[in-house]
Symmetry: none
Subunit: 200 residues, 4 copies
Amino acid sequence: MSRTAGSSGVKTLETIKKAALRLIYEHGYDAMTLRGLANKVGIQQGSLYNYFKTKQELLFMLVSSHMEALTEQQEKALAGIDDPVEALRTFIRFHIDYHISRKHEVFVNYSELRSFTPENYKIIADMRSQYENRLIDIIIKAQKAELVPQYDAKVAAYGILAMLTGICQWFNPKGRLSKEEVITTYMSMALSALQVRASH
Amino acid sequence: MSRTAGSSGVKTLETIKKAALRLIYEHGYDAMTLRGLANKVGIQQGSLYNYFKTKQELLFMLVSSHMEALTEQQEKALAGIDDPVEALRTFIRFHIDYHISRKHEVFVNYSELRSFTPENYKIIADMRSQYENRLIDIIIKAQKAELVPQYDAKVAAYGILAMLTGICQWFNPKGRLSKEEVITTYMSMALSALQVRASH
Amino acid sequence: MSRTAGSSGVKTLETIKKAALRLIYEHGYDAMTLRGLANKVGIQQGSLYNYFKTKQELLFMLVSSHMEALTEQQEKALAGIDDPVEALRTFIRFHIDYHISRKHEVFVNYSELRSFTPENYKIIADMRSQYENRLIDIIIKAQKAELVPQYDAKVAAYGILAMLTGICQWFNPKGRLSKEEVITTYMSMALSALQVRASH
Amino acid sequence: MSRTAGSSGVKTLETIKKAALRLIYEHGYDAMTLRGLANKVGIQQGSLYNYFKTKQELLFMLVSSHMEALTEQQEKALAGIDDPVEALRTFIRFHIDYHISRKHEVFVNYSELRSFTPENYKIIADMRSQYENRLIDIIIKAQKAELVPQYDAKVAAYGILAMLTGICQWFNPKGRLSKEEVITTYMSMALSALQVRASH
DNA sequence: AATGAATGAGTCTTCATTCAT
DNA sequence: AATGAATGAAGACTCATTCAT
């Protein structure tokens, strides 16, 4: 990739982030080299350090900004929905949709936790818990309303999340199934798995 | 760890494999160093090369032998079972049980595909497909027997597999829930997700 | 050797080349270590890789740049000389002179062909052929003018070249014989060997 | 190459020597590995040490036994020849013949002097001097008999030796010229170079 | 005479990071 | 904001050599 002369810092930062996401997605954090990144961005290795202080900070930047966006969008999607089953439907649709559209971010997010500094790990893990807790809370609410049985809400939530997130690993937008078809199928599977009462 | 004097090659190989699995589990393939491995095993770095030719070959050895064992055990578990729902139950129980008991192998298996040589990748991917196809076949059989609805069998199988395999990421044998409790919960979730007819 | 602060890349490269020539001359390409080279140059081992990508490339750089200089100087020396015997005299004098003054380059050039990559080998071999062909052509011209007998020109040329180049192996500028004395002796031997007609 | 079961030590030693010569010829002493040698011989690396104590000793063994054979054959060839010109002719023919028939030995002999221990180097250098001195002596004798001019005998001898030995580098027994043709051509060149009086 | 597992030092090479310009 | 030359530590891998069996 050629260097965009006179590119502003902000633009370069965006290029770096996107390139880094792709490279980590392809090779993993450890196997991604800053030389390779600089190369892809079209600048010299040293110049990267105008944008982050260490490779670790770059990773943290990528993952935390993804987690922030994720949580924020989640808030927005669920805002004002009171009915637990409606909330469940919304969560499921949102989760699949969002994860399918950011393959790289999601992958990096899930597979590189190991690479974090303990401090950074804690921050990211907390952000993730916050996101997951939203689902757990919805399930508990549904249980209180006797719309689903009394299984362990946390364990059930983990099951649903694993199932939905797993889509990223095989879904191909140009493949046999459209995003909507996948959402329909998984919506049904997830609600069934949770044993949502038929009335809904 | 101290050196086991007079250890035979076979024994050393086993030690190496176990140590490697743990190290890859903890740090990832790239971040695992052969120095660290040799250290853990209690031999010199160079001695490792009596057991594999490259780090890549070590990885392949670990993953392929796990996949072989997995498929073999799967065969054994499902042998002679004709009823599709019975087969489903057996598969689910087997999958959870096996995966929960080999945390390290499973993790390495699922997270280091990226690190393979193209040729090795293909071999491993084929082995995995073979394993997954067993579940897909069972679902199709169940559909033919009208024991479950006519959704996309492959997509459904992927959903179930992701859900079940995800257990490895949080399950702790000394934690709040026993393995049997987890199996019970997930058995219920999985069968519900697949909408197995009530008669069973 | 201490590090030359602020040394520019070009200067460092020259230092590297000179040091490498000497080390290869002394120990051979294989036995020369990049650690040793870095040490002699006064930089870190890794810094060498700002100047070449592999040890092999370093060798190629040294040998090919020597061959280029050699051929260029040869052209210059022989330019405008028509008389074959005059050309012979010029070639002989030039060859001895040039080879005696670059002991290291010559040695590396002749003794490390084995160490080349097949591709690099071909390039270098071609350059050498080009140089040798100049002598063969002169001899053929002399034969056409009946100034020397009709022996095999190529074989004769090889004989002369071996004889002249061999000087490098024992000549010592501070020794018993001066460069001019050696040139005189070998000029006579070479012309006699070729049986150049007395009239000249 | 397969292992000859029950092979006697002597036979194995010969196999080792031959294989080593070839490997050093192809890759050089430094680049020849004992692993590669063991492989070619068809035994394990450790077994080599039943035949020599160090790699250096192996090299010395090869070169010194070649030098011994060379000198011995030289003695035999020149025995009883009084006439200096006849001796010259005999030496030249012998040298070319012997060197052409032992390409590998000669190459190793000439190109690996650098790799010797100082002590071993001295021994080998002395052996070589002894061989060369025979030629120098013949030339001096010829000068005393006024059969050749009064140039520097040593320098002349070095020139002749370089010329003759150089044949090894390009001669191909299956090539355009037969060994006898080469001998004829070089005989003429060498005698001319030395300016042997026409009367012979 | 041969094996195979081990050693320990060493090889080339790559990496994240720094800093004067 | 960018360069390019440098660092120093670490990486995978290889080597000659040893030795119990």
